[in-house]
């Protein structure tokens, strides 16, 4: 039945197009940020004695780009959760940062338990990552569904600030619940992922860019590949499946969707599951990358991913991707460059990153890709 034409059509729609879009966003964000970096080098050629900014940028550019992309994908995956839920309920799920945290803790628990069995070191690391991420997705998705059922659904008709406060409450509750659980079961809540003893995983890959070589961490590559696969799957789910169509219908007009025979509550649960599982996957990938996580690890990435979602246009799935990549790229560049300014340093990264965002939002309040400016929370 599947004709050649419809197969190529399908490939274009669900593989070529979304991947191309990601590439364009990466190249675009990379270009904009590079131009800004060189502008800075032009304005402050020698921020410190004997430090020529242009040379530093030339040397670090490829590394900053790769780090920006992997950070950006993590933000994008979390941002999707905010944006999907906002799409259907017009509400910011502030507990989503704790879903991310939960995913990172689940990633640790699964890997730790596997390691305790003694077999983990023999596993194929790609399979291992997939196994851990799938567990994190499943449990985080279920947690998100449970949260909606208990803390948001009973408040559906209430004024908009009420579920928002409930979400903040859930967020604090989850942090403390995980902390208590870890304190009781492990006597500590700094959770360090076991490492895999493989040279090719541990040693960075040297990539030559002209005269400079960049050491690319394998985990960065794993994050990027996993994120690309998942985002392609997400695009297919939202735009290519019946359930995705149902979610879009519910997000545009809930009561009319119910007239079509769509069980709106079911679609909302599904949305929380999908958003939660992406947040959880991001958490597990993040955990494997940084090595150590805590029950408090969700707050900052959560806020940043939320910002990314708003930057891209909240409610807009493509916007979450663009916003995440833009934010990741800005942050990575600031991280690389601010060290050369004696009065500033890396810890001002967030101040600058958020200033850029505020500037963008002043000129585009509905976000980069947002079309409608509905009432905002």
């Amino acid at each position: 039945m599947v004709s050649v034409r419809s197969t190529t059509d399908w490939l274009y729609r669900y593989v070529v197009f979304p991947v191309g879009q990601m590439l364009i966003f990466i190249i675009g964000a990379g270009l904009v940020v590079s131009v800004l970096a060189y502008l800075l080098a032009f304005l402050f050629p020698e921020p410190r004695p004997n430090i020529i900014l242009v040379d530093q940028i030339n040397r670090q550019l490829p590394g900053m780009l790769i780090a920006g992309v992997s950070l950006g994908f993590v933000y994008a995956m979390i941002a999707l959760g905010y944006t999907l839920v906002y799409g259907v309920l017009k509400f910011i799920n502030f507990a989503h940062s704790e879903i991310f945290m939960f995913g990172s803790v689940i990633g640790f628990e699964v890997m730790r338990r596997l390691d305790d069995t003694g077999y983990m070191q023999g596993w194929n690391p790609i399979l291992l990552v997939a196994f851990i991420v799938l567990w994190a997705m499943l449990l985080s998705g279920l947690l998100a569904v449970l949260i909606e059922r208990i803390a948001y659904r009973p408040l559906r008709g209430a004024p908009r600030l009420v579920p928002l406060i409930s979400a903040i409450g859930v967020s604090l509750f989850l942090t403390d619940a995980v902390r208590a659980f870890q304190a009781i079961t492990r006597n500590e809540f700094n959770l360090t992922y076991p490492t895999i003893d493989l040279p090719w995983l541990k040693n960075p890959i040297p990539l030559a860019f002209g005269e400079t070589t960049v050491n690319v961490r394998v985990t960065s590559i794993i994050i990027i590949v996993a994120a690309v696969l998942m985002l392609v799957a997400m695009n297919y789910f939202v735009n290519g499946t019946k359930l995705g169509k149902g979610i879009r219908a519910v997000s545009q007009d809930m009561s009319t969707a119910s007239l079509m025979g769509i069980n709106v509550n079911y679609m909302i649960s599904l949305t929380f599951f999908v958003g939660g599982s992406f947040g959880g996957a991001a958490g597990a990938l993040f955990g494997m990358n940084v090595g150590t996580v805590t029950p408090f690890v969700g707050f900052i990435p959560g806020i940043k991913a939320f910002t990314a979602a708003v930057l891209g246009g909240i409610g807009n799935v493509t916007g979450a991707l663009l916003g995440g990549l833009a934010l990741g790229m800005i942050e990575s560049f600031l991280n690389g460059i601010l060290v050369y300014f004696p009065a500033l340093g890396q810890r001002y990264t967030d101040v600058f990153a958020f200033s850029v965002l505020i500037l963008i939002l002043i000129f585009r309040p509905s976000g980069l890709l947002g079309e409608r400016v509905d009432e905002k929370v």
């Binding site: 019946k242 169509k245 879009r248 007009d253 119910s258 007239l259 025979g261």
Partner: protein, 238 residues
């Protein structure tokens, strides 16, 4: 004649607003029944109560012998009640094709879906030319066609139509009413809400006049058209 849908003394509230004050009406198999009345009389609320979008506080809604008054909208829809809401409510960011497909949400057979879609293109050839366009970019008349097609995709036993003529040019209104008669002659029972009482009574078999939440009059469409009060208040004669 078998009764398909019946409202028995239905009361509906929005908070403290008592919108339906004991509405009773009946729709028989194969009929076009119209519900006319002025702004705020409770016409849309009657349809919304049938569909379960708002819940009746008391009274019964009987569809094919069972009380559906506490059912949720998607279950009511699955029983065979199609609803074209006031203002058409097209999904603006879904394509025309997706809007039509959404109407067949509970239809599992792909063959049925494509057959019905073909039937819709016969009824509304214009939609076929617009399949890839976003619903929000259609003209008012096209949106009305799409809203009707969308509701028909589930092959409902009864179709609830809320002011299909609203905001359309007179020529288009004629066309829509022709379509309603055609849908009915092909076997679908219709409950039609209209402010355009004259047109509605012309196509309907029977009618009810709703006044501030209660049924003021009910009769055959012909009799209502000749009723002095109806002529004065709803048909705009002096």
């Amino acid at each position: 004649m078998t009764t398909l849908l019946e409202l028995e003394n239905v009361h509906t509230y929005y908070g403290h607003i008592h919108a339906l004050k004991g509405v009773s009406l009946k729709v028989n198999q194969g009929e076009i029944v119209t519900l006319v009345g002025s702004n705020g009389a409770g016409k849309s609320t009657s349809l919304r109560t049938i569909s379960g979008i708002v819940r009746a506080r008391s009274g019964r809604i009987i569809f094919e012998g069972r009380d559906i008054s506490t059912m949720r909208p998607h279950d009511v829809s699955a029983l065979g009640i199609g609803h074209v809401p006031e203002g058409r409510r097209i999904f603006p960011l879904l394509t025309v094709r997706e809007n039509i497909e959404i109407g067949a949400w509970n239809v599992t057979s792909r063959a049925d879906i494509s057959d019905r879609m073909e039937q819709m293109f016969v009824l509304f050839p214009r939609l076929k030319e617009r399949l890839a366009q976003k619903g929000g970019t259609l003209s008012g008349g096209e949106q009305q066609m799409l809203a009707i097609a969308r509701a028909l995709m589930s092959a409902p036993r009864v179709l609830l139509l809320d002011e299909p003529s609203m905001g359309l040019a007179p020529v288009l209104v004629e066309g829509i009413f022709d379509i309603i008669q055609r849908i009915n002659s092909e076997g679908t029972t219709v409950l039609l809400v209209e402010q355009n009482a004259l047109m509605a009574l012309e196509v309907a078999h029977r009618g009810y006049v709703l006044q501030t939440g209660s049924i003021a009059l009910s009769d055959s469409a012909k009799a209502l058209m000749n009723n002095e009060m109806v002529r004065k208040v709803y048909l705009g004669e002096n």
